[in-house]
């Protein structure tokens, strides 16, 4: 063991404290505000209803609080916002937990997510992002 330790000590490799621009921190954030709501409503929230979809990550509250596209309309849109001191953002992944109304056998549909930067569809690259799931 002693010989091995001495050999290891002779290694000249250095710890490199360096810039590495290919890497960056990650975090997960929930909405903190609502922007608009069109043809959507909520079972528990009023106004922009963001606080019915800000569940703790990993613990969605299912039908306790949710936002829904109202019956009789073909499509509904809900825009939510975020806040915090995070800057220099280099990548985004959007998540929702969604469903059709299980009590309505005729409910069928889709969900789609778009992100915006200062109100405009953000500049970015992600052509095959959905295929990477």
């Amino acid at each position: 063991m002693k010989a091995k330790l001495l050999r290891a000590l002779e290694l000249t490799a250095l710890v490199v404290i360096s810039a590495c621009f290919s890497s960056a921190a990650t975090t997960s954030v929930v909405p903190t505000t609502g922007v608009s709501a069109t043809n959507v409503s909520s079972n528990a929230c009023s106004g922009q209803m963001w606080n019915c979809v800000n569940d703790t990550i990993g613990s969605p509250d299912s039908d306790t609080t949710y936002v829904y596209k109202v019956s009789g309309q073909t499509s509904g849109e809900h825009v939510i916002g975020f806040s915090g001191s995070i800057s220099n953002i280099t990548a985004i992944t959007m998540h929702i937990v969604a469903a059709t109304d299980s009590t309505d056998p005729n409910a069928a549909g889709t969900a789609q997510m778009i992100f915006y930067n200062n109100g405009a569809v953000a500049d970015g690259r992600g052509e095959n992002a959905d295929q990477r799931l």
């Binding site: 330790l5 997960s28 915090g84 220099n88 005729n106 953000a122 970015g124």
Partner: protein, 318 residues
């Protein structure tokens, strides 16, 4: 043509399920600039209710962070004869690293009794891809008690004001299994952090029996498959022999929420977004004040010996 920042249309089912957009690379100055639109649209003749109960963003941000590099060169066989961990060896080459290993059940899990050798600075059977060092650390395991013997080697630093403040980490490892070697039960790659009051253990391994990636945060839940967001299937693992494989974990922790998060796992360039049901874990019950990375080798029940080579082992924290 749809905007690049638009996720694909997702067909909803009558049970709540996670839907994820995939990773979009972008450049945005601040989080408060971001808004997210959720569009719920009926299909066919349906006008029935569509709903969503939760929304969140995974955000990649910030600058370079602080890199702890060349950790593989400090992997060390440094344990007592009974396999229990000897007090950490403090490297005197100015790096401040502490290293040790263990094979006992109490430390490494498994059946104990593993014969372990750790030899840094050797030339592996296949040259590691550039820009990695051409030399690597060879870890050999054999023998052991009845069951699945294991060995564990770690490299860490004492906690400091800077490390105590870290909330996001990226662990990198390059691993190689020799072509002639036996098949492990698992190969493990962990990142850990503690500030004296909260301790996060992002444990993960490739399970060669189930051919899946599994996680154990040592929060009492044990090893479980990591699932792919939206798909719900396990992240596949096939660390083939006679090839270098690059493993990268991006993780973070939130003391206010009392949770740790497995965000992205990238294997040989393929990034997996971890499903919310397996992404979030609790802290480990400990008072460690440290930051580090480790690798573990678990043999199969036949105790078949194998050699694992490690290169490019590093940790970045923010």
């Amino acid at each position: 043509m749809a905007p690049l920042q638009t996720g694909a249309v997702k067909t909803l089912t009558n049970a709540y399920k996670e839907y994820a957009s995939g990773v979009f690379n972008t450049s945005i100055s601040g989080l408060s600039n971001i808004t997210m639109k959720v569009i719920l649209t009926n299909t066919g003749s349906s006008t029935g209710v569509l709903k969503y109960t939760a929304a969140w963003l995974d955000v990649t941000y910030g600058g370079a962070g602080t890199t702890l590099g060349s950790m593989d060169t400090h992997l060390l066989e440094w344990q007592n004869a009974d396999g229990s961990p000897k007090s950490d060896f403090v490297w005197t080459d100015g790096t401040g690293y502490l290293s040790a290993s263990c094979t006992s059940t109490a430390c490494a899990g498994g059946a104990g009794g593993t014969s372990l050798t750790v030899a840094p600075g050797l030339t592996p059977p296949a040259t590691p891809p550039a820009p990695l060092s051409p030399t690597a650390t060879e870890i050999s395991v054999s023998g052991g008690n009845s069951g699945d013997p294991s060995a564990l080697e770690w490299v860490k630093q004492h906690g400091s004001t800077a490390t105590d403040a870290a909330v996001s980490l990226q662990g990198d490892w390059w691993a190689y299994l020799e072509a002639s070697t036996s098949t492990p039960h698992t190969l493990e790659f962990d990142t850990f952090w503690g500030n004296g009051s909260h301790v996060a253990m992002w444990g993960s391994h490739c399970n060669f029996a189930s051919q899946t990636w599994q996680a154990d945060a040592q929060d009492g839940t044990g090893w479980k498959d990591l699932l792919i967001a939206e798909k719900g299937s396990a992240i596949p693992c096939n660390l083939s022999k006679n090839a270098w494989h690059h493993i990268t974990w991006q993780v973070h922790q939130d003391a206010t929420a009392g949770k740790i998060y497995y965000d992205y796992l990238t294997i040989d360039g393929t990034t997996y977004i971890v499903d919310y049901t397996t992404k979030v874990h609790g802290y480990k019950a400990s008072t460690w004040d440290t930051i580090g990375s480790q690798v573990q080798q678990d043999m199969n029940s036949l105790h078949e010996a194998y050699n694992e080579w490690i290169d490019g082992m590093s940790l970045i924290y923010w």
